[in-house]
């Protein structure tokens, strides 16, 4: 049975600066080697890492949709461990292949910044910080009375 996977690969920044295409070919080559078929692939983003991974502070992410059988993931994991170019990888099993084409980080943000998503992106509005401290300072959350600073005045809107 064919399974669909989403794979994200964190690669060495210095290597990417030399030749991004080579890295992309390296990643897709690994997937092909373990019996998978690369359906879509993109250089997702290039960014500073939240923490150093194997002494590396900047990395390039590749995102790929690929198909394979049930053992593809396990075989890929074994291959990636041997690769010195790939620092981390994350494989997710997809129930079905996404309809929209694969998108980079900036494309994704562009899509989410318009339309309906805008409201949900604004959930923790700036200015809530004072509220949070107030809630912590007053431990009676179950109390029907408001904490010291009323949320309606908390500048949420």
């Amino acid at each position: 049975m064919v399974k669909y996977y989403e794979g994200m690969f964190l690669t060495h920044n210095k290597e990417a600066r030399k030749d991004t295409d080579y890295l992309a070919a390296h990643v897709s080559g690994l997937i092909e080697k373990v019996g998978g078929t690369v359906l879509q692939m993109t250089k997702w983003d290039e960014r500073r890492l939240a923490y150093p991974v194997k002494g590396v502070t900047h990395g390039v992410y590749f995102l790929a949709y690929f198909s394979g059988d049930a053992a593809t993931d396990a075989r890929l994991r074994a291959e990636v461990r041997l690769s010195s170019l790939i620092l981390r990888h994350l494989t997710l099993h997809l129930e079905e292949l996404p309809e929209q084409p694969i998108e980079t980080f900036s494309e994704m943000q562009l899509r989410l910044s318009g339309g309906e998503a805008r409201t949900a992106l604004d959930i923790p509005a700036p200015g809530l910080d004072e509220d949070e401290t107030a809630t912590v300072a007053v431990p009676r959350i179950g109390d029907e009375h408001a904490p010291a600073s009323d949320r309606r005045d908390g500048g949420e809107r």
Binding site: M8, Q109, A117, D122, I123, T135
Partner: protein
């Protein structure tokens, strides 16, 4: 029982606590938006140190909060979010 609580002290001004205007994040929104790749959103739902905000503060349903937890952990593993700030 405290004596003189009613008469001896000036009554404190109380305001009713209201969450009516808060945005609830349920299953639909969580499925559409909570993704380990959506780093700016995850950052807004975590503290500076990288800890998740409470359900109450984030406006999440229980289901959405669990989904968010999972996605934050994935993002941490991929070094998109910090484990500790």
């Amino acid at each position: 029982m405290r004596r003189g609580a009613q008469s001896g002290r000036k009554k404190r001004k109380v305001r009713r606590f209201s969450e009516r205007h808060r945005v609830r994040v349920g299953r639909d929104k969580a499925e559409a938006l909570y993704d380990y790749k959506n780093v700016p959103l995850l950052q807004r739902l975590t503290t500076q140190q990288g800890k998740l905000y409470s359900r109450k503060r984030a406006g999440n349903t229980a289901w959405a909060q669990r989904r968010l937890k999972r996605e934050v952990k994935r993002a941490r593993f991929m070094a998109l979010l910090p484990y500790v700030g």
